[in-house]
């Protein structure tokens, strides 16, 4: 493999779900678990797309022992909005974008999952080191 080909080999894995929905993932993972950073990408038509984590980042944190406090949502919202994404009342990280900005938001989604999972890691009732 030469250097030109290397970037392709680092690319996303794509899992088709339906005609309008795919799941894209990387080989980077959440801070508290080996779950790969990834997200759903929905084709809304007319060159518009919706990115979503289906609230799975926070679901994974809950299943690993994170116990949410009411104030945490506000702090998480700040983290998410810094990345130009949104955090819903149901804990879903999402954004709707035109095709031209898709690569921008795709990177922000991964940064958000990374940041949010580090936030949750600090609040886990166990230590990372064994």
């Amino acid at each position: 493999m030469n250097l030109d080909e290397l970037p392709i080999s680092f690319g996303f894995q794509s899992h088709p779900i339906s005609e309008d929905l795919i799941y894209l993932e990387t080989t980077m993972s959440l801070a508290f678990d080996g779950r790969c950073l990834g997200f759903y990408l929905e084709d809304l038509g007319r060159e518009r797309y919706r990115l979503s984590d289906n609230a799975e980042t926070l679901f994974m944190a809950l299943s690993q022992g994170y116990q949410p406090a009411s104030k945490d949502h506000k702090e998480m919202q700040t983290l998410v909005e810094k990345q130009q994404l949104l955090l819903s009342e149901q804990g879903e990280i999402y954004q709707v974008t035109a095709a031209g900005e898709l690569s921008f938001y795709l990177a922000r989604m991964l940064e958000t999952q990374f940041a949010l999972s580090h936030y949750c890691l600090q609040k886990m009732p166990w230590k990372l080191e064994y």
């Binding site: 894995q13 289906n54 926070l58 949410p68 149901q90 609040k123």
Partner: protein, 168 residues
């Protein structure tokens, strides 16, 4: 925030998994509660302490999480865990599209990325972060597999919170 549990050794974690355990007969079914913290997933949670009144100083429990998908056409996510002070010792995850990464170059490449459903159990150097693939199965069968591996007897059947009016 709860105080952090001291790290377990691999041997101690395996001993907790392998010791025979019995479900609390006073709890004849999984009692699901809806998580109600604003801004968090609309998920359901069932916490079932084992050894409710015995001499153990630790807290061993079965913790289950269930989340219907927000996006249309996707299965619900289910997470089953045997925990020690909320730290996962043994677990089964099902229903999500993403993969789990085993961060070890000692594993063959096709065992590094594991889809759902999968099993988590301690492995050298990866007390909780090692996953191995499970065959696609009904959720009730995954629950039975989980109970068997957790050496947990007399547990109720998996009763999912499908109907809202049955929730606590």
């Amino acid at each position: 925030m709860p105080s952090a549990t001291p790290p377990l050794t691999l041997d101690a974690a395996e001993a907790l998994i392998y010791e025979a355990k019995t479900w609390d007969e006073a709890v004849p079914e999984l009692a699901w509660k809806k998580l109600s913290t604003k801004g968090f997933p609309e998920a359901y949670y069932s916490y079932n302490r084992l050894h409710p009144e015995d001499e153990h100083s630790h807290e061993l429990a079965v913790e289950c999480y269930y989340k219907p998908s927000i996006l249309q056409g996707l299965p619900a996510a289910l997470s089953l865990s045997l925990t020690y002070n909320h730290q996962r010792l043994l677990g089964v995850d099902s229903g999500m599209a993403g993969s789990h990464l085993n961060k070890s170059l000692h594993l063959p490449e096709d065992e590094r990325l594991v889809g759902h459903p999968h099993l988590h159990r301690p492995a050298p150097g990866m007390l909780k972060d090692f996953a191995e693939a499970l065959p696609a199965s009904e959720l009730a069968d995954l629950w039975e597999d989980f109970l068997l591996l957790a050496n947990l007897l007399e547990a109720p059947e998996l009763d999912l919170p499908a109907a809202g009016d049955r929730l606590l």
